[in-house]
C-alpha cells in the first residue's frame, strides 16, 4: 500500500538542528512537502497553536525543558492534536522510562535512533494504516458513543482485518469503559483461550475487579507480575485491588514497591502520596509529593494542588516553616483560580497558627474569607467540607452552617457526604439542630425531585424542564438533579425532535455527572439515549 505524504502537514521536533534537517530530508525523499521544525517544547506548542499538524515526529530528550512526552500531553490535553493525528516519539533506546510510567497519553509509536529513511517510512506507513483503520472508532469514543465504536470494531473484525488482536483489545477497553464488565470478561477470556497475552490478562483482571471477583483479579495480576516483574499496570491494579479489599496499608506497600522500580512516574507518585496521606504515613506522603512537584516542573499537567498536598504533608510532619515556603512559592508560580487561592490562604492560616504567628494567620484567614464571599462558592463535596471545617476551627459557626446547608442541597442522596456533614454539626455542638436541618433539606430535595418526575410522567415536559433548570441553578453539583434535568430534555427531544439548545444543555448536565460519577448506570443509559438522538 502506498501512502501519500504530500498532503500531510509534518512537524519535526528535535534539539539538534542537524538531526532536524536530516529528518526533514528523509520526509521529503518519500513525498512530504509541508514540514515545519521546532527545537523545543515552547516552539513546538507555539506552532501547534497556529497550525494543525497531522504528523508529529518528536525526540523524547529535548534538553532541560519539556521532554517529548510532556509536549504530547499538552498537545492532547489542549486538543491541538486530534485522535486521528499521528505522534511518533523518537527515542535513543528502548524507552524503558516511558514504558514504566503510568502515562495518560501514549504516542502512536516509537522509533529508535539511529534510523534511516526507509525505516522511517516503513514505520510511518504502519502507523498511518493502523490509524486509518481505527479512526472511526476513535472519533466515536471521543463522543463516548460506545455503541457506534463497538459496531465499527465488530465490522472490522468480521471483515478479516489484519488488526484482529488490536481491535479485540480496543473492544475490551470500550466494554470496560461502558461498564459492560461481563461482556468485557468474555472478550478477554476468548483472547486468552487463543493465546496468552499480557494485555488480555490485565483486561481479565480488570473485569474481575469490577465484577467484584477479587480472587480472580488477584490471580491475573499476580501471574502478570510473575511473568514480568516490571509490569507496571499489574502493580497499579494490584494496589487498587488491595484498596477495594479494604487494606490500604497493603495498597500503599504495593505502590511503594512499584515506585522503586519507576521513580519518575508522576501519576503513580501522586497516587502513592494520596494513599500515604490517608494512611497518615506523612513521611511517605511528603516524599512522594516532593517528587511529584519536581517531576511536574515542566509539565502542562502540573497543578497547584500538588503543592498544596506537599504543604499539608510537611505540616503534618511538623515541618511548618517549609510548608509555608512551599505555599508562598506556589502563589508566585501559579496563576490560581479563586478556589485555589482560598485553599492556599486557608492552609497558610492553619500553618501560621501552628507556628504561633497569629497576626499573619489572621490576615491569611481574612484573605480566605473575602474570596469566599465574592466568587462562585465551592460546592464540590470535599472542598466544601474542608471549607466548613475551616470556619468551625476559626469559630465562625454561622458561616460553617451556611456551607453545610449548601452541601446537603448538592448531595442530598450521598449518604457518605451526609454522614460527614452530621459529624461537623456534632463537632459544633449542634448535633440535633444539624440532624433536623439535614432531614428537612433532604425532604425538600426529594419533593422537588418527585414533583419534576411527576410532571414529566404526566407529559408536562416543558414544566418539568423549567423546574429542573431552576433546580440545577441552585445546586449545580447535585447528581440526581443533573441527571433528571438531562433526562427531561432528552425525553422532550425524543418526542419533538432535536433542538440545538436542548442538546447542548443536556450534554452540559451529563458532563457534570461524568465529573462526579462516570460509572453511574443512569448516566450511561442517558448517554446512550443522547447519541441515539443524533442517529
Amino acid at each position: 500500500m502506498n501512502i501519500k505524504y504530500n498532503r500531510r502537514k509534518f512537524l519535526v521536533i528535535d534539539d539538534f538542528s542537524e538531526m532536524r534537517k536530516a529528518i526533514k530530508r528523509m520526509i521529503e525523499a518519500f513525498g512530504g512537502v509541508d514540514i515545519d521544525e521546532a527545537k523545543d517544547g515552547k516552539q513546538a506548542i507555539h506552532l501547534m497553536e497556529k497550525r494543525h499538524f497531522n504528523i508529529v515526529l518528536c525526540d523524547y530528550n529535548l534538553g532541560e525543558e519539556k521532554n517529548g512526552q510532556q509536549i504530547l500531553e499538552e498537545a492532547k490535553h489542549r486538543n491541538l492534536l486530534k485522535s486521528y493525528d499521528i505522534f511518533i516519539m523518537i527515542t535513543a533506546e528502548t524507552s524503558t522510562e516511558m514504558v514504566l510510567s503510568a502515562i495518560d497519553y501514549k504516542p502512536d509509536d516509537y522509533i529508535s535512533k539511529p534510523f534511516t529513511r526507509n525505516a522511517l517510512k516503513l514505520r510511518l506507513d504502519r502507523v498511518a494504516i493502523r490509524k486509518a483503520e481505527f479512526m472511526d472508532i476513535d472519533l466515536a469514543l471521543e463522543q463516548q458513543d460506545y455503541a457506534r465504536a463497538l459496531t465499527v470494531c465488530d465490522q472490522r473484525i468480521e471483515s478479516g482485518s489484519r488488526n484482529y488482536f488490536g481491535l479485540l483489545k480496543v473492544k475490551g477497553e470500550i466494554l470496560l469503559q461502558a461498564g459492560e464488565y461481563q461482556a468485557a470478561q468474555e472478550i478477554y477470556q476468548q483472547v486468552l483461550d487463543e493465546r496468552e497475552q499480557p494485555w488480555a490478562k490485565l483486561g481479565l483482571g480488570q473485569s474481575c475487579y469490577y465484577l467484584k471477583d477479587y480472587a480472580g483479579a488477584e490471580r491475573q495480576f499476580q501471574e502478570l507480575l510473575n511473568e514480568n516483574r516490571l509490569n507496571m499496570d499489574a502493580y497499579d491494579w494490584l494496589a487498587k485491588l488491595r484498596e477495594a479489599q479494604g487494606d490500604s496499608t497493603a495498597a500503599q506497600e504495593v505502590l511503594m514497591g512499584a515506585t522503586k522500580l519507576s521513580p519518575k512516574s508522576m501519576n503513580r507518585q501522586k497516587d502513592l502520596g494520596q494513599l500515604a496521606y490517608r494512611n497518615e504515613d506523612f513521611s511517605i506522603a511528603e516524599k512522594s509529593y516532593r517528587t511529584v512537584v519536581r517531576l511536574g516542573k515542566n509539565s502542562y499537567l502540573k497543578s497547584v494542588d500538588n503543592h498544596h498536598w506537599l504543604a499539608k504533608s510537611l505540616t503534618a510532619n511538623g515541618s511548618d516553616t517549609e510548608a509555608l515556603q512551599v505555599l508562598r512559592n506556589a502563589r508566585k508560580e501559579f496563576r490560581q483560580s479563586d478556589d485555589e487561592i482560598r485553599q492556599s490562604a486557608m492552609l497558610e492560616g492553619t500553618v501560621l497558627q501552628k507556628l504561633g504567628r497569629d497576626d499573619e494567620a489572621q490576615k491569611a484567614i481574612a484573605r480566605a474569607s473575602s474570596i469566599g464571599n465574592s466568587g462562585q462558592p465551592a460546592s464540590a463535596a470535599d472542598t466544601a467540607l474542608e471549607q466548613a471545617r475551616f470556619h468551625i476551627e476559626m469559630g465562625e459557626k454561622d458561616k460553617a452552617v451556611e456551607i453545610l446547608k449548601r452541601i446537603v442541597r448538592n448531595h442530598h442522596d450521598d449518604e457518605e457526604v451526609l454522614a460527614r456533614v452530621q459529624e461537623l454539626f456534632d463537632e459544633m455542638g449542634l448535633g440535633d439542630e444539624g440532624g433536623e436541618i439535614v432531614t428537612s433539606i433532604k425532604d425538600e430535595m426529594v419533593q422537588l425531585n418527585n414533583k419534576g418526575v411527576r410532571l414529566a410522567r404526566e407529559g408536562q415536559l416543558n414544566e418539568a424542564i423549567m423546574l429542573f433548570e431552576e433546580a440545577v441553578q441552585g445546586m449545580p453539583d447535585n447528581r440526581v438533579i443533573n441527571l433528571n434535568a438531562a433526562q427531561v430534555l432528552i425525553m422532550h427531544m425524543e418526542e419533538n425532535g432535536v433542538n440545538e439548545k436542548h442538546k447542548r444543555q443536556s450534554w452540559e448536565y451529563l458532563e457534570r455527572v461524568a465529573k462526579i460519577e462516570p460509572e453511574n448506570e443512569k448516566y450511561r443509559a442517558l448517554v446512550k439515549m443522547y447519541h441515539k438522538l443524533s442517529s
Binding site: 542537524e18 535513543a92 514504558v99 534511516t116 529513511r117 496468552e196 509490569n231
Partner: protein, 230 residues
C-alpha cells in the same frame, strides 16, 4: 533527607554513554546514507566502500543496543514488551536496509514468509537478533541469504540460511555459550549468539521457552541459524 552527591549507578552511566554514542552513529549513518544515494548507482567502487562503512557502523550500533539490553536483562531492569506482529511487517522493517547493503557486497537477500503469519514477541529484542546475524552473514555466505519464517508444532521458527561453508564446529553444540577468545577469521566473539539465546529465552508460553540452534544442513547448502519461539 537525601544525600546531595549521590553516586551515579552504572546503569545510568551506561545508558548516557550509549545515548551519546548512538547520536554520533546516527549522524554517521545518515551521512553515509545520503552519500550512497547521491551516487545513485554509479561509481560502484565507491558505493561498495561506502557499503562496508555502513555495515560496520550498523554493527557498532547494534552492539551498543545489545550491550544495554543485556545489562538490563541481567539486572532485571528490562521491561519485556510482548505483542502481536505480522512476520512480513516485521521482516520488512528488519531487512529493509540489508537488501542494498548486501547487494553491494554481491550477496542476494531473499525473504520467504506467509502473508498471514502472525506471532507474539518482543519486537525490539528480535530486531537486534536479526540485525546481528545479518550484520555478520556476509562473512559466512558465498552469495545468497534467505530469511524465512513458519509455524511448526506450535512454535514459530525463524531461519536464516546462507550458502557458505557453514558454521565452525564449536558453535554448533552450544551456540549460546560465549567462546573464550576471538575467532580470528570472522572476528566474532559469540556475543551476538549469546544475546540471541538470552533474547529467545525471555519468550515463554505455557511452560515452553524460546531457543536458538545452529546447523550446517541449511536449505541453501551452507549454515543455518534458527530461532524457535513458543
Amino acid at each position: 533527607m537525601t544525600k546531595s552527591t549521590e553516586k551515579l549507578d552504572f546503569e545510568t552511566i551506561l545508558a548516557s554513554s550509549i545515548h551519546d554514542m548512538k547520536n554520533s552513529l546516527g549522524m554517521l549513518l545518515n551521512s553515509l546514507d545520503e552519500l550512497v544515494s547521491s551516487l545513485d548507482g554509479r561509481d560502484s567502487a565507491r558505493s561498495g566502500k561506502l557499503t562496508t562503512l555502513q555495515l560496520e557502523a550498523k554493527r557498532v550500533n547494534n552492539n551498543l543496543i545489545q550491550l544495554l539490553a543485556l545489562y538490563r536483562m541481567g539486572s532485571g531492569k528490562y521491561a519485556v514488551n510482548i505483542s502481536d506482529h505480522y512476520m512480513t511487517d516485521f521482516f520488512g522493517e528488519a531487512l529493509v536496509e540489508f537488501y542494498p547493503l548486501l547487494e553491494n557486497s554481491g550477496v542476494q537477500l531473499e525473504m520467504d514468509c506467509p502473508e498471514d503469519l502472525q506471532w507474539f514477541f518482543d519486537e525490539n529484542l528480535l530486531m537486534v537478533v536479526i540485525t546481528n546475524i545479518l550484520n555478520n552473514i556476509s562473512r559466512y555466505t558465498r552469495d545468497r541469504v534467505r530469511v524465512s519464517a513458519g509455524e511448526k508444532d506450535g512454535w514459530l521458527v525463524i531461519q536464516i540460511d546462507d550458502n557458505g561453508d557453514g558454521y565452525p564446529e564449536q558453535l554448533l553444540d552450544l551456540p549460546g555459550r560465549i567462546i573464550s577468545g576471538v575467532d580470528i577469521q570472522t572476528g566474532s566473539t559469540g556475543l551476538g549468539l549469546y544475546f540471541s539465546a538470552t533474547a529467545a529465552r525471555t519468550h515463554t508460553c505455557r511452560g515452553r521457552e524460546g531457543f536458538i540452534s545452529l546447523s550446517n544442513s541449511g536449505t541453501l547448502g551452507g549454515g543455518c541459524f534458527s530461532l524457535h519461539l513458543p
